[in-house]
């Protein structure tokens, strides 16, 4: 039967919910017309998206020269944004897959939206490797496809080629994982809707799910398998992203610590983003019972942990540089801390190392407003981490004659904002049309932390 757990442990789901109640709560949000708040958020997000579209189309029509790059600094905002968004994506998979494997029941109320977030983040990320090329219309050359050139394939030694495979695999697997999870809920909604267009759409999307346990059995196994696949996948993805830099010869990039460092950073920023969204959604959609303080608390602790790892990575980098005796390497780090981009470096350290320390205090963890602000700061910090790694390493490399500066143009900034626009537009639409909380899974854990006595 249901797990035995101590009565002391607070309930996962507050309020004495019954399955029907769950269905009721979640679906209500979908069936009632969008609130003014939603419209507000949507219009902001969508206008950002439009700005981004304008910027990108202008850049593609005119040339990468419309970015502030130069011969020395060949990457800046583009790849920074790419790594940033991939990182954001990772939390979703972490929560839905890794926590699933670790049997962390509390994930059930957040995993759906976390996975959605993953998808949208990976979409945003995927755009940048394409538009950062000089000839985006030829970006498909990055994939090996049969051709009349000899045939000539691609360079499987290039981390960028690895990226293409990693990102597209990651997107596909996450999408499937997410959709598989959705099917039962789609069916639930289908069966609550009055016949009509909407009902027909859900009927199609729900694959004719009818709750047969013979299917449920396969389903459970499948879900476990996907979780099992997604877990190493998510780690491999950011490892590969980090290899974009680690395999290069440029001091500040050429570092073996990158994979763990990047994965931790990714999860760090991802969790922060999930929290940001959750805290808003919770208020806006009245899901206080489902996303309880316990959830927030758990995630804050995760933040604390990953922040620790990231801090350790920063320290290690400096130590390696110092210990290596390689003066080029040493210079890069001195240059980060005291050079022209010191402000970026210290923003990064401040937001990623010092700010999260507040989370040691329960009182802080309990105050959602503060947590919200912290999460925003952490995301800023993590964006700057990538910026620092890329730009400060490039702008002053081996030959002093090459040393140059970097200044973003309006086009670049608009593109960055545009990616946020895309992300939030997608997320807001998602909140409106699909269940933000996995009803099926929540129902299964309803009685968590309730002793049988009170439950009977």
């Amino acid at each position: 039967m249901a797990e035995v757990c101590s009565p002391l442990r607070p309930a996962l789901i507050a309020g004495d919910k019954k399955p029907a109640g769950v269905t009721e709560d979640i679906c209500r949000a979908l069936l009632r017309p969008p609130s003014a708040l939603w419209w507000g958020g949507f219009s902001v997000a969508f206008s950002l998206l439009l700005a981004g579209v304008a910027a990108v189309s202008y850049q593609i029509a005119t040339g990468v020269g419309t970015w502030g790059l130069n011969t020395t600094v060949g990457w800046a905002f583009d790849i920074t944004n790419f790594v940033f968004w991939v990182g954001i994506g990772h939390a979703g998979t972490l929560i839905s897959a890794i926590l699933f494997l670790f049997r962390q029941k509390w994930r059930t109320s957040v995993n759906r939206s976390a996975e959605a977030m993953t998808l949208f983040a990976v979409m945003c990320a995927g755009i940048f490797p394409i538009i950062h090329t000089g000839r985006p219309w030829l970006a498909y050359w990055l994939f090996p496809y049969p051709n009349f050139r000899g045939p000539l394939w691609i360079n499987f030694r290039s981390p960028l080629a690895w990226d293409c495979f990693a990102i597209s695999t990651y997107f596909l697997i996450s999408a499937m994982f997410w959709y598989i999870g959705l099917i039962p809920d789609l069916a639930t909604i289908r069966d609550r809707l009055q016949p009509g267009l909407r009902q027909r759409v859900f009927a199609i999307l729900s694959f004719g799910w009818n709750g047969s346990y013979r299917v449920w059995q396969h389903y459970e196994v499948l879900y476990l398998l996907l979780a099992g696949l997604a877990t190493p996948l998510v780690i491999s993805v950011h490892t590969i992203v980090s290899w974009d830099f680690a395999t290069a010869v440029i001091p500040g990039w050429h570092a073996t610590i990158f994979p763990p460092y990047f994965v931790a950073g990714a999860i760090f920023s991802g969790i922060a983003m999930v929290l940001t969204l959750m805290i808003v959604a919770r208020k806006a959609m009245g899901l206080e019972d489902y996303i309880t303080h316990r959830h927030v608390d758990a995630m804050c602790k995760l933040l604390l942990l990953t922040s620790g790892i990231v801090a350790l990575a920063y320290a290690t980098e400096f130590f390696t540089a110092f210990y290596s005796g390689n003066t080029y390497e040493q210079f890069v780090f001195l240059n980060r801390a005291r050079g022209p981009f010191a402000w970026a470096y210290w923003t990064m350290v401040g937001c990623n190392v010092f700010v999260p320390q507040l989370l040691w205090f329960r009182s802080v963890r309990r105050r959602l407003a503060i947590v919200f602000v912290l999460c925003i700061l952490i995301n800023v910090g993590m964006w700057f981490e990538r910026f620092v790694i890329i730009v400060t390493s490039l702008h002053r490399d081996f030959l002093p004659s090459n040393w140059a500066g970097y200044q973003p143009t309006i086009v670049e900034v608009a593109t960055l904002l545009g990616s946020f626009g895309l992300f939030f537009t997608c997320f807001l639409v998602f909140c409106r049309v699909l269940p933000v909380i996995a009803m099926g899974e929540v129902k299964a854990v309803l009685r968590h932390g309730k002793s049988h006595g009170e439950q009977a």
Binding site: V64, A248, F331, L399
Partner: protein
């Protein structure tokens, strides 16, 4: 397709209407997308997805492209095969021999003529760039009368009739030209002027050597310019003479100088100057000296030498040791200084040894005194007729007035410049590549110029015009042929490009001078110093975008001339780079400041030749996008004209004058520098212990010669995977020979179709030159050392760029080349990021190539890169391919020295050597095993194929020298 345009073009050229024909020919210019068919490209651009299918299908048919053969093919011409015509460079009066490479009727590249004594295979940056002048769309296509297009008949009639009246009235006729090195032309001018009673031929040089000529008139009784022989000099003392950069005959001097700077037995060179010049940057010892002090210094040196080295002056001692093997040169246009120079050379017995006045140089013959007189006459309106040939006095000189009071004012200018626009008639001369001409740069050496292409417009050689106006019209060819008849074998000379003729002077002039009077004391305050920049040796090149975008070898500025101040001086004024200064010396000009280490604290230097009308055309140069900034300055031109700062003093044009006032205006502009960090040492507060200075450029003292430092050898991990069995191309760059003159940069740009990107892009650090010259300072700013390092793709065997390219667009050839395949590149820029030398260049935009005429310069053997594509030095692979295929055709292997990369070919110092590292006897592999050899960033184990040779500098006092 590019390659075939030419065939049809050549055909048009046959009809002699290339310029006109160029228009339709280039309806789609060669600057074409590197993409399959044009329709494919259209489809890429077209947004309408729905129609893509149609376009796609449409693509499967070839465009109805025409292939037009000759109607009657000229003898010996085969489409696609280059021909070389021996000629003479017209970029300045030095008279370097050239070979003009003509491809299907179009001259596309200039190469030095190895046989000819002045060039000996090399050229300077300006010479390399001067080919663009041929395709200058601003050149006049027919004569102008009163600013209106006219016919030659009309102009001739009008001018002759006006001349008739003047001849009757006995008015003064003046012919103003630069130094005429062409004897035939001189004769024509004389014949022409002979028709008049009061006629005078006035010659002046924008950068005058008049003082030297005058001084020799005093000391040797003949107004001669010695032929300086640096290759014979063991000790060189140069006083403000930039003989490697711009002075008289830089290519020849650079070559001679480099020849004597080969370790171990190197010449010793000391430079006295106020501005850090190219020459100063190579000197063993450099002593900052204000222009005013030069004469004093010379007098002092003379004293030491007279007293046989008493006073223990190191220089005097060295000079005395090298009597007859030493050379003292002075570039100051001041009679005192020059008299003292002659006196010292006389004392040292250098005349006849290192200074040849028997076969004197004829490269500078201008007389400032005559010029001054002429200007005076003009002011008083005493000139009835003025003929101006190849000079632009209005822009070159201060205080030119009264031009509108001339009865007949004729200019031979090729395009409308500041002077020509005020002339009554402009009778445009040919570009030198279109014309027959001769030149005698040094007495006894006749260098011939033959047309490499039919004239693009209906222009006429000045010599023909003169002949027509002297009453017996003739073709230039006949005039020259006639002049030299039975002096040498014409055909052989034409083939060789030059001929030696028996000496013209009877006997060498003897020393008749005596010890000069002690020089006047220097005037206090700032001295303004107007100089000719290496990249812009005179205003005549102001039309040339290649030269404007060429970073000055010392200042690294482009698209501007700056006021150079020493760091101390700048600090005292509280100004920094880019602050606009107001320099007042008589007249006033405003130029941006550039802080220049090595500059004398009391000297402010400004370059000549900027702020010309010709540069107005660059208003919208470069890619156009929202943040684009114009290439020109507020005055609508590139840079500011420094001519107002010049002045005549005792009949000499003074380029350096005391008593200048320098003030800040409060305005500032952002300079377009290609290098912003100027030393090999990293900023103090960022310097890790032991990493303060980077060993990118290495310098040793003569004593350390022959001691190779041990370079760590890395094991090859996969020796069998990449055996280089055939050729293995490599390069060696002798940093000791390289003087930074940048001829290689332009040569590379012309050879490889590298675009000009404009000031704004350079400001953004996006210049496209495939080879750049890194300039590093060391030592304190008041006594700065300079190192020049040509830096191009190092063609690494373990190229970091290759591993990271996802599309295999850059891979290694089995001959050791790092290949870049433009059409496969999608432009991720990953390779450039991962290049430790940052030798790769990215096409940030489709760089405009609207000027269809200028497009005729494009090298058909090199793809024109499109937007979004990475490019870089290829070791001129097109030349390698050509040589290999030809060798195979002739059944002989490629011999060492058969392939010259464009940079190597142009280098006056012979600093760059290209060849086969697998051939142990090749020059390059010998240099690759030289004791001075090192490879930049060798520790990365990227295995560059470019070997550098260390700089050798002898800074010690002679005393220490022996036990040094």
């Amino acid at each position: 397709m590019e390659k075939h345009y030419w065939r049809s073009l050549a055909e048009c050229e046959n009809r002699g209407e290339l310029a006109a024909a160029a228009e339709p020919e280039f309806a789609e210019s060669p600057a074409r997308e590197i993409e399959a068919g044009p329709s494919r490209r259209g489809f890429l651009k077209a947004a309408g997805f729905a129609l893509a299918g149609g376009a796609l299908a449409g693509c499967s048919r070839a465009p109805g492209e025409k292939a037009i053969p000759y109607a009657a093919q000229p003898e010996g011409l085969v489409a696609g095969r280059a021909q070389y015509y021996a000629s003479t460079c017209g970029a300045c009066t030095a008279g370097c021999g050239l070979l003009a490479k003509v491809r299907d009727g179009r001259p596309i590249k200039l190469e030095g003529n190895r046989e000819q004594a002045i060039s000996r295979g090399a050229t300077c940056a300006a010479g390399q760039a001067s080919i663009l002048g041929l395709y200058d769309s601003y050149r006049l296509k027919q004569p102008l009368a009163g600013g209106k297009p006219a016919t030659w008949e009309g102009v001739d009639r009008a001018v002759l009739e006006k001349m008739e009246r003047i001849r009757a009235g006995g008015g003064a006729v003046r012919y103003l030209s630069e130094t005429v090195t062409s004897p035939a032309k001189q004769a024509a001018i004389d014949r022409f002027l002979a028709q008049f009673r009061d006629a005078r031929h006035v010659m002046y040089d924008a950068v005058s050597a008049s003082a030297i000529l005058d001084a020799h008139e005093r000391t040797h009784g003949a107004r001669v310019l010695p032929h300086y022989r640096f290759e014979r000099a063991d000790v060189i003392a140069a006083f403000d003479a930039d003989f490697l950069g711009t002075w008289i005959s830089p290519v020849e001097f650079a070559r001679d100088y480099a020849a004597r700077r080969m370790p171990p037995n190197m010449s010793w060179h000391v430079q006295f100057e106020g501005r850090l010049s190219l020459t100063g940057s190579k000197a063993d010892r450099r002593i900052r000296t204000a222009p005013g002090e030069i004469a004093g210094r010379l007098a002092q040196l003379a004293a030491f030498i007279e007293s046989n080295g008493a006073g223990g002056d190191d220089l005097a001692a060295r000079l005395l040791q090298a009597r007859g093997r030493s050379l003292v040169v002075c570039g100051v246009n001041d009679l005192d200084a020059q008299l003292w120079t002659n006196y010292i050379n006389h004392l040292l017995g250098n005349y006849g040894a290192t200074l040849d006045i028997e076969r004197a140089s004829l490269q500078r013959r201008g007389s400032d005194r005559d010029l001054a007189d002429l200007l005076a006459e003009l002011k008083q309106g005493q000139v009835a007729a003025l003929f101006i040939d190849a000079v632009n006095p209005v822009a070159d000189l201060p205080g030119v007035a009264g031009l509108d009071r001339i009865g007949l004012f004729v200019s031979f200018a090729g395009s409308v410049d500041e002077t020509a626009e005020r002339a009554h008639y402009i009778c445009p001369d040919h570009h030198y590549l279109e014309s027959w001409a001769d030149a005698e740069p040094v007495a006894g050496l006749v260098s011939l110029t033959q047309p490499a292409i039919r004239p693009l417009g209906s222009t006429r050689a000045a010599i023909e015009t003169l002949a027509a106006w002297s009453g017996h019209p003739a073709k230039a060819y006949d005039l020259i042929r006639e002049y030299w008849k039975d002096r040498f074998d014409w055909d052989r000379a034409l083939e060789a490009g030059f001929a030696e003729v028996p000496r013209t002077h009877a006997a060498a002039p003897r020393w008749i001078g005596r010890k000069p009077a002690p020089p006047a004391a220097a005037t206090p305050g700032y001295a303004v110093d107007v100089y000719a920049a290496v990249g812009m040796p005179g205003g005549r090149h102001a039309y040339n975008p290649f030269l404007h975008e060429l970073p000055d070898p010392i200042t690294k500025t482009t698209w501007d001339n700056c006021a150079l101040l020493s760091p101390a001086a700048a600090a005292s004024l509280g100004v920094g780079d880019g602050d606009i200064l107001r320099i007042e010396a008589g007249a006033a000009i405003e130029v941006p400041l550039l802080v220049q280490p090595g500059q004398h604290d009391q000297v402010v230097s400004v370059a000549l030749g900027y702020g010309r009308k010709a540069s107005e055309r660059f208003a919208n140069l470069g890619p156009r996008w929202i943040n684009h900034k114009p290439t020109i300055n507020a005055n609508g031109r590139v840079g500011a004209n420094a001519a107002p700062l010049l002045a005549f003093e005792h009949g000499l044009l003074r380029y350096q004058r005391g008593g200048a006032v320098v003030a800040k205006t409060g305005r500032r502009i952002e300079l377009a520098l290609t290098q912003t960090h100027h030393t090999l040492s990293v900023p103090k507060h960022l310097a890790p212990a032991g990493g303060e200075v980077r060993p990118i450029v290495r310098e040793i003292a003569p004593a350390e010669l022959g001691k190779p430092e041990h370079a760590e050898t890395h094991e090859e991990l996969w020796p069998d995977d990449h055996p280089y069995n055939g050729h293995r191309w490599g390069m060696a760059v002798d940093l000791n020979a390289c003087n930074g003159c940048s001829a290689c940069v332009i040569a590379c740009q012309v050879e490889n179709n590298t675009p000009v990107v404009g000031k704004d892009e350079v400001r953004r650090r996006r210049e496209m030159h495939w080879i750049r010259i890194d300039r590093y300072y060391s030592g304190p700013p008041e006594d700065v050392r300079v190192a020049h390092q040509p830096m191009m793709c190092q063609q690494c065997d373990h190229a970091p760029c290759e591993t990271v390219c996802p599309t295999l667009a850059t891979v290694h050839s089995d001959e050791g080349l790092n290949q870049q395949i433009y059409n496969r590149c999608v432009g991720t820029r990953y390779c450039a990021n991962n290049c430790p030398y940052k030798a790769r260049r990215f096409n940030w935009f489709d760089y405009p190539r609207e000027d269809r005429l200028a497009n005729l310069l494009l090298n058909p053997d090199v793809t024109v890169r499109s937007r979004g594509v990475m490019e870089k030095c290829t070791f001129c692979v097109q030349r390698i391919q050509e040589a290999k295929i030809e060798a195979r055709r002739n059944g002989a292997p490629v011999r060492d020295g058969e392939i010259h990369t464009a940079c190597e070919q142009a280098c006056p110092a012979g600093a760059i050597v290209f060849g086969d590292l697998n051939d142990p006897s090749s020059r390059v592999s010998r240099l690759a095993h030289d004791a001075r050899q090192y490879r930049v960033l060798d520790e990365l184990n990227v295995r560059p194929s470019v070997h550098y040779l260390k700089i050798v500098r002898d800074e010690k006092q002679q005393g220490e020298k022996h036990h040094g």
